[in-house]
Symmetry: D3
Subunit: 164 residues, 6 copies
């Protein structure tokens, strides 16, 4: 039976760290669904449309990946999509604690869905969407921080102060 993995996140915006995790995942599972959170409480800088556009441009060479937005409970989407696994990339201990509790909560709510944690490539260990936004907003260089396919879009979005 085909195995389906979810890669949930806000992706505000996609980083090289995200791409690394998704690519590695796509070699293990039959289908990978990148789930972009539409939860307004996260107060993303980029519009949902733009965030999906960035993911799409960054992953276009990977065949078994789909992109989708969601705004309900993660495990409800997981059940609907018949996913077997939720994938979370970990960079650090503090990530881990929060994700650890979420994984246990999700396990209680949906015992048949597993959460697997993957370790970021050390090269991207310092990388986060907020760091990218911080650096870009202060005109720092974001080369190697985001997929090269979207680098100039991100620079321009800060130049033009337009994130939709």
């Amino acid at each position: 039976m085909k195995k389906i993995a979810l890669c949930p996140g806000t992706y505000d915006p996609m980083t090289e760290g995200h791409r690394d995790i998704i690519c590695r995942c796509s070699k293990i599972f039959d289908r990978v669904i990148v789930l972009v959170s539409n939860n307004p409480k996260k107060m993303p800088l980029y519009s949902l449309k733009k965030r999906i556009y960035f993911i799409d441009k960054s992953l276009k060479e990977i065949k078994n990946v789909e992109i989708m937005s969601y705004d309900g409970l993660l495990i409800d989407i997981a059940k609907e999509k018949k996913a077997n696994v939720i994938i979370k990339g970990l960079r650090a201990i503090t990530d881990f604690e929060y994700e650890f509790q979420m994984a246990q909560m999700n396990k209680k709510l949906a015992p048949n869905i597993e959460t697997f944690f993957m370790v970021s490539n050390p090269r991207y260990a310092y990388l986060s969407s907020s760091a990218v936004k911080e650096v870009a907003s202060l005109n720092g260089c974001i080369k190697d921080l985001v997929p090269k396919e979207i680098e100039k879009y991100i620079i321009n979005s800060f130049k033009n102060n337009s994130f939709d």
Copy 2:
């Protein structure tokens, strides 16, 4: 293509926490290989033969699981067995730090093999092989700490001081 996962460990002895991880794993991957370390530096209490026997008794109802010992580099076995994934169960932060470094080292040595971390069931969060041995050696109750199929063997091994 079939996906193969390795569950490496010393299993000295098998606990309910180990069984939980292996069972959950066996539902996601086509084949699961429980790899029992034969590294004498770990100075296990139980003989390799006994440790394998305990695993075997505890998992006999799971079809797609095999048990195997190893004494070389984990990623060499992984390549030989054409495994895609190494599975590690995490109970705590300090586990995580060590396993995190091992995962990055293994990624460097074998870029095509992934390490996935799974979170222990909270019920087993306090459980470790050393805790089982500590409790059993002081005549404490080990019910629910080890698979019931091996509980009385472990109690007897301490009574008779025989671990071979």
Copy 3:
């Protein structure tokens, strides 16, 4: 001399984890005072009145527990109530760091009052008030997450969008 323990918190809302800690506490100390923070900076979802109501319904069978709100410095209330001990439940490392610093600060401000940390029951390790609100707001099942006496009130509060 009677020993008095404080259990301070926002309780927004009470969870099964809170109840577990308070009950265990009530067996050790002569009086337990559940202190509900009225600090508006915490921006609770539920009104103070409602939060106290939930605690009251959840604990009504415990004789030596009182409920009280406060809005000043915790150690000032502690002195006023002649409390000997502040009790904090810990679920995780990140909790611990913050609470560790608060305990040291409180020790400096009031050397005679001790902070004791208790470990959550593993069954509730993933539980927090925010997790309860997250799940309830997305229509997830909150059975076993909050005391059964208040479960339906919480479900209704989200249905009616009324938290006063």
Copy 4:
């Protein structure tokens, strides 16, 4: 009913950090029992007799403290002594993880006995029995690291290489 607290440890040797925790404890509980582990696996430097002697000299002004050795399962002693609480001093996160798991294990084995964690006085946060031994063995100054009542005994024990 009288409340009894246990302060278990190896006390190899007693430090100012240990004394601080025990003294603070003695103000909250009716009786405090300092439990000195006689587990040979810990391979203490000082003999059990000497370790007890050091504790005794350091605590002689505290009325409600007793000293006792033990070599079985901690919770068995706790039940025998009708203790309500096990006290553990925490200096750091790595302490915490291990003690956290022990507390959960003990809770499972003896549901009526609580573990309370206390935070070391920041002045002693860097202090441990091993640090004391390390410093003393290299002729460093141990003033303020151990109770002044035992300072010269410890210095002499290293001079004479006699720990019995």
Copy 5:
């Protein structure tokens, strides 16, 4: 060649912990520049002018220290000032994780500038600018928490609700 160290922060307000780090630093490096962040996203309570005033009063006896505000990328100022080192004081693990990632990001953006971490004096381990504000806002005693030169200014600022 002269070595220059930067001590960046929000200093909202200066604490005894900050002063301790800066003083110790001034003995190792030829010049120390205290860099006060003017980033409005941090939403400081005190105006930039007031924060600089507090630092100035607290450090006036140290010859080789200068104070300066900045609002761009830290490493851009570092390059402009020909600084060799960024100094960060650490109190706790969670500090460390964030600062660890920032240090790696800064290393990538400016390979010639090092980040050095210093451990707070244990006496100040519980101290932070937010703790000072919390205590002062609730009329608690802030003696020993902030440099004595600014203690009464801070108390007054809360009395008069004036932070400019």
Copy 6:
């Protein structure tokens, strides 16, 4: 006045991570002393002579670095050499906790000597002397794990089982 930094360690054997820290250090301080611990309690695999030889070969292009062994208290050597700073490289949180306590202890014993922590290059975050020995002993590839100048010596030492 010249500033002197110590880089203490067991260096059993030197890794690329060690070299990275020492090189970066040598650009900030006037003199760097690599201090090789001769403490037999650490039970190093390689003889002191061999460990010094490896460091020497790996650092020969750096002018202001000296190598020295020591077997007393670190801060005694530090005083004797008139060192201003002890440098420690950090890879992970568990490192940090231990080093944090050592730094505070050393600060108490020698208030004029500072400990500075540096963050490993992410590329070496998974690297430790034990990992190198583990991999080499199992015939794994150690390229990029140790300085290339000593790579073949280490491989041979395991082939010939000769570490003196």
